[in-house]
Symmetry: D2
Subunit: 130 residues, 4 copies
């Protein structure tokens, strides 16, 4: 599990005065950067090989603009070509939202899912256990 | 069930060349406008009383920039204070993504969930059967 | 001059209850699609060859969520490799914002600005005069 | 002048592989948080009293996803009710974009521009000279 911190943006609020619900997947994707780094070292987009196939986000409480947010990311399951990430969005030490995202390792040349390479699998396993 | 059409925006693409996965909840929220209209006539934000508590989005295929998108929205379940909406994002007659969103009717004055008013419930029921 | 219409999205509002100022460039870019179409027929992104080098946006009045918006786009100046577009965002027949954007025709292979091809220039000229 | 650092988000890239031009105003607004803090202590949105009336953004070079960005913000001019902020977006020590934004101190109760209070003016002045 690792932690990512961010400060909400004014443009991310909505007319209710809180962070709009559609912002959560943007934050959660950003918090997955260390995973992108595993699959594309240097976050080199020309080597991009991950596809987001599904996510579920649950909102437990309002997320406010004026306080920082901490996002905790963990690896929940590792399959042959896919894996699942669970994430929590915390603000002022209280749980605001949880996310569960499934990503697939993709071979863009052959346009199909591809097994997760062994070295990356080992690193994901370490993340899962940490 | 009703249909909403939109033309993707260039700013919604990402480095993979397709519409980024985080755009889907924005489109799906927009496509729920007729439901907002039921709960806040004239979409008058001072009367806003719906909270998004959960959504799941599954991606079946790439969504591209250059073709229009049609979103089909249906009411799946109606509870006491909450209801669930299912949505499909289609492009060129093929299914690109599906969404399932749960919303709660909220009493902002008393800060708690509130039963869906009978007249709105009847309209949701009509949408569910249509 | 041509017209593009859109319906604002709830996610585009901010805590003030209006459309956030950062949304305007997204709308203006979208309203320039017919110009993209000139430079990349079929809006085929693999042929993308326009760079936004500058824009100025002035806000004259609040843009609200609940009413449709009409954007009027005109070509103001055509140079050798660049051209300037002026745009107006209208709501309920009143002017809400104006934009002025300069774009450069770019040769991505040689990584430098390139003269606007004659056939495209003729079409821009037509737009400028319309 | 002060400095704000951020790490670009994958969702902010576009099909060209770089950060989309419409992202710049979002970043620049975020980098103005210390100014919001002056006008609404604690960034308490119920006290919001600033309106963005104009901005110009110039792009000098591509902004890339994989490297951090530093934004430098300075106060350029202070008028009676309005002031102008100049900002630079740097990446890898090279200038990528510059922004110039005019904001107006607004009295929401009376719906008109209002003189900048003296204590805030003094703080802006300090920022202008720093």
């Amino acid at each position: 599990m690792y932690r990512y911190e961010l400060s909400p943006r004014y443009a991310e609020t909505d007319a209710m005065g809180h962070i709009n619900n559609t912002v959560a997947p943007v934050w959660l994707e950003k918090a997955r950067d260390p995973i992108f780094e595993l699959f594309m070292p240097g976050r080199d987009l020309s080597k991009a090989n991950l596809i987001t196939v599904k996510y579920t986000i649950e909102f437990h409480d309002e997320i406010r603009y004026e306080h920082d947010v901490a996002i905790f990311t963990a690896i929940a399951e590792i399959g042959n070509a896919s894996f699942t990430v669970t994430q929590r969005i915390m603000q002022n030490d209280s749980l605001r939202a949880t996310g569960r995202t499934t990503l697939v390792h993709f071979d863009y040349r052959n346009k199909k899912a591809a097994p997760i390479p062994e070295d990356i699998r080992a690193r994901l396993q370490e993340m899962a256990e940490a």
